[in-house]
Symmetry: C2
């Protein structure tokens, strides 16, 4: 806040100018961004540069390459169904041992370079351990209804203030949005601020965290990971838990794109459901080896780029690694993985945010799909980071719209709505009543059946 010493007034005027986004200014700004991007922000960095970079990468996949991804996602979404002309053979097999050899004597390596990376001591009997615990603790049921599992939504952000000061405000709106959805649906929240394993910094940090939470909370049946740049835009949609009773891992994606095309955006790891069981621990162990920072992650990145369709050259990311793992090990994992595309467990913002008015006009909350997306995920916006892959103005404007679109479904319970999708202000939509319990809210979200179940005896 101290830059106000240089005069808030000037800064504010510029911010206002920017908000109303004169072309001239945007050009200037983008020029600066591009220039600095070219020179390398490192030169301008603080001592925490590394940590910042980690932090920046943590909250979106593949910072440098969203545009490609975007184009592809738009193209492939439609094409996915009949698309199956894949070059199935032409990819390398990831030889972890070789890379670990190269790693020997690496000064920046903390752990024994000969030991392959591990998320923790091997556990093979988790299902038994967990079942025993659940038997001994009947008051911590893993199902809170006949078919409704106990769910823990896990998200998080850096413990440091955002590089981009406005970023923290959007993180705040994002968690308020999740608090609302989770209160309505009887889901608990864990917000993470800690980097549990420095080696797994960046978009890999969720793996040690998820393992830790599964092992600490046997009462949790499903863990729902959600990136901090994803917001709930359908407060009424309840996940069809019944549908996943025979599966352990649910992501938004398409079988053809993953197993046939090996397309690096055939699935998205920004919002997924993972069952608390031995299979999931095994999956995490198989997912993690490409994660360790430095040579391993860099080498793995080359393997992934070589193996996957459409993937640009950059270090290994968790999403590409998952596509690779499934594409190369379908027989081991495929049976228990559910690639969901009947509703937006993850919904790419670029193809959704301009259609909110259309949704409002033609549809209603509770659909969760292309008519009213459950989740709008601001892939590549990184409001907390220094540079996103899209113009900051567009990202922030659209994040506000997404937030308000979702928030209107919360406010309607109490008789209010935003003056517009662009406005923070609210207005009444009905008069106060002296018999408030007689009027039911339109969406029935005040006391939804799926929540009632939660507390039934």
């Amino acid at each position: 806040m101290l830059e106000r010493c240089f005069g808030v007034r000037r800064v504010r005027q510029i911010q206002r100018a920017a908000r109303h986004g004169t072309v001239t200014f945007l050009c200037l700004f983008m020029t600066v961004v591009v220039l600095r991007g070219t020179i390398g922000a490192g030169k301008f960095g603080t001592p925490e540069q590394d940590f910042n970079d980690i932090r920046e990468r943590f909250y979106s996949h593949n910072r440098r390459v969203e545009p490609h991804r975007v184009l592809e996602e738009v193209e492939t979404t439609a094409a996915a169904a009949q698309n199956d002309n894949a070059d199935s053979n032409n990819y390398a097999t990831f030889d972890i041992s070789k890379i670990l050899k190269d790693e020997e004597g690496g000064a920046d390596e903390k752990r024994d370079p000969n030991a392959p990376y591990s998320l923790g001591p091997k556990i093979s009997d988790w299902d038994e351990q967990r079942a025993g615990w659940l038997k001994q603790n009947p008051n911590f049921r893993n199902f809170v209804g006949p078919t409704k599992p106990r769910v823990l939504l896990v998200t998080g952000s850096s413990p440091k203030p955002c590089e981009n000061p406005v970023g923290d405000h959007y993180l705040l709106k994002s968690i308020k949005n999740k608090i609302d959805y989770c209160r309505i649906h009887g889901i608990e929240i864990f917000y993470n601020f800690a980097l549990l394993d420095a080696e797994m910094a960046g978009f890999w940090a969720k793996l040690p965290l998820i393992r830790k939470l599964l092992l600490s909370h046997p009462e949790v049946e499903f863990l729902w990971w959600m990136d901090s740049d994803a917001m709930f835009t359908d407060m009424a949609f309840e996940v069809p838990w019944e549908r996943y009773k025979d599966h352990n891992f649910v992501m938004h994606g398409w079988n053809e794109m993953v197993y046939d095309d090996k397309n690096w955006i055939g699935l998205n790891t920004g919002s997924f459901l993972l069952r608390n069981c031995q299979w999931s621990l095994d999956l995490l162990d198989a997912w993690a080896p490409m994660g360790p920072k430095g040579k391993i992650r860099d080498e793995a990145g080359k393997v992934l780029t070589n193996a996957l369709k459409g993937r640009p050259v950059f270090e290994a990311d968790d999403q590409s690694a998952m596509v690779y793992l499934l594409a190369t090990g379908r027989e081991r994992w495929g049976e228990k993985v559910y690639l969901e595309n009947h509703y937006y467990l993850h919904g790419y913002w670029g193809i959704l945010v301009d259609r909110y008015e259309e949704f409002i006009e033609n549809y209603h909350p509770g659909l969760g799909d292309h008519r009213w997306p459950l989740v709008t995920h601001f892939v590549g916006c990184k409001p907390c980071g220094k540079f996103g892959d899209y113009p900051v103005e567009r990202c922030l404007k659209q994040m506000d719209r997404a937030y308000n679109f979702g928030d209107n479904q919360v406010l309607q319970m109490y008789g209010f709505t935003h003056k517009s999708l662009a406005s923070r202000r609210v207005k009444r939509i009905r008069n106060e009543s002296s018999t408030p319990l007689e009027l039911k809210d339109e969406l029935g979200l005040l006391h939804p059946p799926f929540k009632a179940i939660k507390l039934s005896s």
Copy 2:
């Protein structure tokens, strides 16, 4: 974020300098603050100045006067017990009608100036309405355990980004802190971003919000209001609900200071418990009349300053109004009000934050009192506002310490702790186990009995 156009590097250097707080710079900064305070920030303001002022005031009580309050709180806390030499007679009676008369034709008044302000249509049979609803909806029990009520914690902040950019980061830490306490204790959270009634802006905005939530959620037995600048510092302390079975309104405070001294800091309204019942609706109706912005609030402020001990001259605030209401109407309200001082339902930060190391050395979480405070409330810090009543550096440093002090109790569940109360970084406190369910966390917070009750059949 656009001020980076002037060069992030320079801003950052200054920020670093500020963090390490050279006396020179602090002096310069405070001079600027004081100077600008004198000139009046309005001159530097944006069109949203008014809204900002409202916003700033919303999240602390009595912006201009904390220092007095602080001194008094420290003095009186000790003296409270035997202190009862009050000037019980010498105060005016608040003539709302007279003020409303003056208000007639006031251009800025939206509602009928002849009608006294009301939070909503009069409701006299809420207990019957609510009982009927609870009977019809057995799956939404108002008690989730034999003596454990269903509780909704309500907090919030402005829908606008903070004036002081770092403020949003502290709001984020503050809600993460509340999410943790509430998950551990089986409490639901409502985070408010909306100004439901423009007339009740500022520290009065919580009244219409609270009424709305009580009437919308008959299943909620107790509503827990907590300011955004208050943090949980004892994650293990469960509120002694049994103790309040015959009371409807619980605040931190002292009977002597309120009823005898009429001291304006005899209680604190930054963290309180309110039962969902007719009595509480009546209390809100009796509490609200001094709230309407403009002449009413200004005139009421004079009445309060004249009536209450130690209150400086400024517009009516919700806390002073409550002291006044109780002091002048003990027979009407006193019986159902519990002024709690055996633990810190609200704890003034100034007398706590420097003693965390002492607490850690001598005591343990779960006490909630002067040995390990349940809540540390950063009265007067307003990290989100332009100017607080304390040096920004001290506030932020201490808010970080309070957050980490509380967060260590969360991290210990998972085998981690902050490297120090001043550090965001975490370190392991035990090795990973292959039989994680065998080790119980020290504080038993992973599966606490008071939470188990919640889901028992």
